[in-house]
């Protein structure tokens, strides 16, 4: 008979309730052969027990079977606490065949539902034996699981912490390498900005004025991330700089550096580089592009020019490769715009790239702004594009402006009236004669000045303003040409916008307006108008 008794259960925690619930369910299912009933009784019981262990440190559960003939007539389950009475009010649960009652400080649950006595043995075995093993097994596996997940958690924590700290170290190396003492002098201005991504990214830039004659600058992107990428970056940057100090050919600089890096490159990492060397005295610009995004040349009065030449593969990939270079002549006021793929490949929430087209459009509209503003605007626009999605890669923009700020060879400031203009005419005449310029050239300059200045005077009169005019004349080398700047602080007026006159009309219907500008345009090689700092500025070039 001992085998036919359900063992006493100790319940001290919610986990115990869960385990017990499983056992009771299985035993009841065997006894009553009624799933729905078994679920109901088990659920009721477990919810009661759960409530009890809130008030009681532990409770015990005994089961008594009342047999009548071949049938089990009643199942009595008693729940008690050996130290404290079960005094809780019985919840108002109605379940057919089940009665709850508090009796002698314990809770008694009587299940009045018959089942064949031969089922009892199986039920008891299931309840007692299997459940014990199960409990043990469960406990063991729980422990194992717990231990494992704890270890995993610890490992994951270590991993991500190690990863984070490695990224942070890499990031620190990267950011500390970026110079911010941007050069700005009479001939060259440079500004750059790097916005690091949270994880991936190995962008860098560098610059240095060498021998007061050259501006060396570089924009690069190291493959990979973390400390190895940062170290490669540091190595590349230092190598480039040290070679650039003595070597004034960008192809030679990159060829040297590539060989050094390829030799040591065990991690198969590489660097894309756009390297430029600008002769700040002459404007001669030499560059080598090693697998990097093409840079742009921006001019005040023409469309951006994309420097599409590729001079070799990414640096670090092919030991001994001989890189090539390109050279072009910058004119005063032109800009070099370099960047990394973090700009053009920035993605919005729809995963659309910022794209070359958008960048080209943007730089064309902002090229007239200050360098700082150009760099900031591009960074800002890319940021707006990326808004809502995480910045996937470093974003780097570097821009250089070349200017030939020499003093004009002839300079005069005067008022917008005909007396002052006559004075200018005679001074200009003497200046060009003294410099032994051809009479025809002088005549042309005088005609041009007459047209432009009388235009300003006429507009000044209309507006009754005391307009100041400033004339700067630059004589180009070898008498190859004359550059003239004419500035006035009158109302905004672009004479170049005047329509060309119809020169085929007969005398009677011939208007005279517009002819002057038409003549000027015909005599000069180039002429541009700009409105800056409340001044009209006309710049023209007369080839001699």
């Amino acid at each position: 008979m001992m085998d036919q008794e359900f063992s006493r259960q100790q319940i001290a925690s919610e986990q115990d309730v869960v385990n017990l619930r499983k056992k009771i369910y299985q035993a009841f299912l065997i006894c009553f052969d009624d799933n729905s009933f078994s679920v109901k009784v088990t659920t009721m019981l477990s919810s009661l027990l759960k409530k009890m262990i809130i008030d009681h440190q532990q409770v015990y559960l005994d089961t008594e079977i009342i047999i009548a003939g071949d049938y089990v007539k009643l199942v009595k389950i008693r729940v008690f606490d050996p130290f404290y009475a079960i005094a809780k009010e019985i919840p108002d649960i109605y379940l057919h065949h089940v009665e709850l009652a508090i009796k002698d400080d314990l809770l008694e649950i009587v299940i009045d539902k018959m089942f064949p006595v031969e089922r009892l043995e199986d039920a008891v075995v299931t309840f007692n034996e299997r459940s014990r093993d199960e409990l043990l097994f469960e406990l063991q596996s729980k422990n194992k699981d717990l231990l494992e997940s704890y270890e995993n958690l610890k490992k994951a924590k270590d991993n991500s912490a190690r990863m984070e700290s490695e990224l942070a170290v890499g990031r620190n190396i990267q950011m500390s390498m970026l110079p911010t003492d941007f050069p700005t002098n009479d001939n060259v201005d440079l500004h750059a900005k790097l916005v690091p991504a949270r994880e991936v990214g190995g962008d860098f830039y560098d610059f240095q004025i060498i021998d007061d004659n050259y501006l060396y600058f570089v924009v690069g992107d190291v493959s990979g991330k973390g400390v190895p990428a940062a170290l490669l970056m540091a190595m590349t940057k230092s190598l480039l700089r040290s070679v650039a100090i003595t070597e004034h050919s960008t192809s030679q600089i990159i060829t040297h550096v590539n060989t050094e890096i390829a030799k040591e490159n065990k991690n198969n990492m590489f660097v894309t580089i756009f390297l430029g060397l600008l002769n700040i005295k002459t404007g001669e610009f030499t560059y080598t592009n090693a697998g990097h995004n093409p840079s742009y040349i921006l001019s005040e009065d023409s469309k951006p020019v994309k420097l599409t030449e590729r001079h070799g593969p990414v640096v670090g990939a092919l030991e001994g490769f001989e890189y090539s270079e390109s050279t072009l002549q910058l004119t005063s006021g032109q800009l070099i715009f370099a960047y990394t793929d973090g700009v053009t490949e920035a993605q919005n929430t729809q995963r659309e790239l910022y794209s070359d087209e958008k960048l080209l459009k943007l730089i064309e509209t902002i090229k007239g702004q200050s360098l700082i503003s150009i760099v900031d605007t591009v960074i800002q626009e890319v940021g707006l594009h990326e808004k809502g999605s995480e910045q996937a890669d470093d974003i780097t923009v570097l821009s250089v402006k070349y200017s030939k700020k020499s003093d004009p060879d002839f300079f005069l400031q005067f008022k917008a009236n005909y007396n002052d203009k006559e004075e200018l005419t005679s001074q200009l005449q003497s200046f060009f004669l003294d410099n032994k310029y051809n009479v025809t050239v002088i005549q042309k300059v005088q005609i041009i000045m007459d047209e432009l200045i009388s235009n300003i005077i006429n507009y000044a009169t209309v507006e009754e303003k005391n307009t100041d005019i400033q004339l700067n004349v630059f004589l180009l080398e070898n008498k190859s040409g004359i550059k003239i700047q004419l500035l006035d602080n009158g109302i905004p007026f672009n004479p170049l916008e005047k329509e060309a006159p119809d020169i085929s009309l007969p005398v009677e219907s011939r208007p005279i307006g517009g002819l002057g500008i038409h003549i000027v345009k015909s005599l000069v090689s180039t002429i541009t108008y700009a409105r800056n700092d409340s001044q009209n500025k006309i710049t023209l070039l007369l080839k001699v």
Partner: protein, 110 residues
């Protein structure tokens, strides 16, 4: 700039010495229109000593041509130097006013 007016029979020759720009051209214009007002119908503008001329000079030519046409007269320009000729060409004025290279030819073509 100096202006000298001489005459060969009934042809009145305006000789300008200097340059014709926005300041000086109005003086030439005034002189030429005065002659037309006085009833002269044959006018020759001799540019032999005009070093350069801006569109303000063209204004003079245009005013002179229009006024003289009204009185069935004739206005001729001669002896323009290379730069002035270029200005005439650029502006298309070589097609709408009579331009003669040489002073003598100009006198003969009245």
């Amino acid at each position: 700039m100096e202006i000298e007016v001489t005459n060969v029979k009934d042809i009145f020759v305006v000789h300008v010495n200097g340059f014709m720009d926005a300041s000086t051209s109005p003086i030439v214009e005034k002189e030429v229109l005065k002659l037309i007002d006085e009833g002269k119908t044959k006018l020759l503008l001799n540019l032999k000593d005009v070093s350069y001329m801006s569109s303000s000079g063209l204004r003079v030519f245009l005013a002179a041509s229009k006024s003289i046409k009204a009185v069935q007269g004739k206005f001729i320009v001669c002896e323009a130097n290379d730069v002035v000729q270029e200005i005439l060409k650029i502006s298309g004025f070589d097609l709408i006013i009579e331009v003669q290279d040489k002073y003598e030819e100009a006198i003969l073509s009245f």
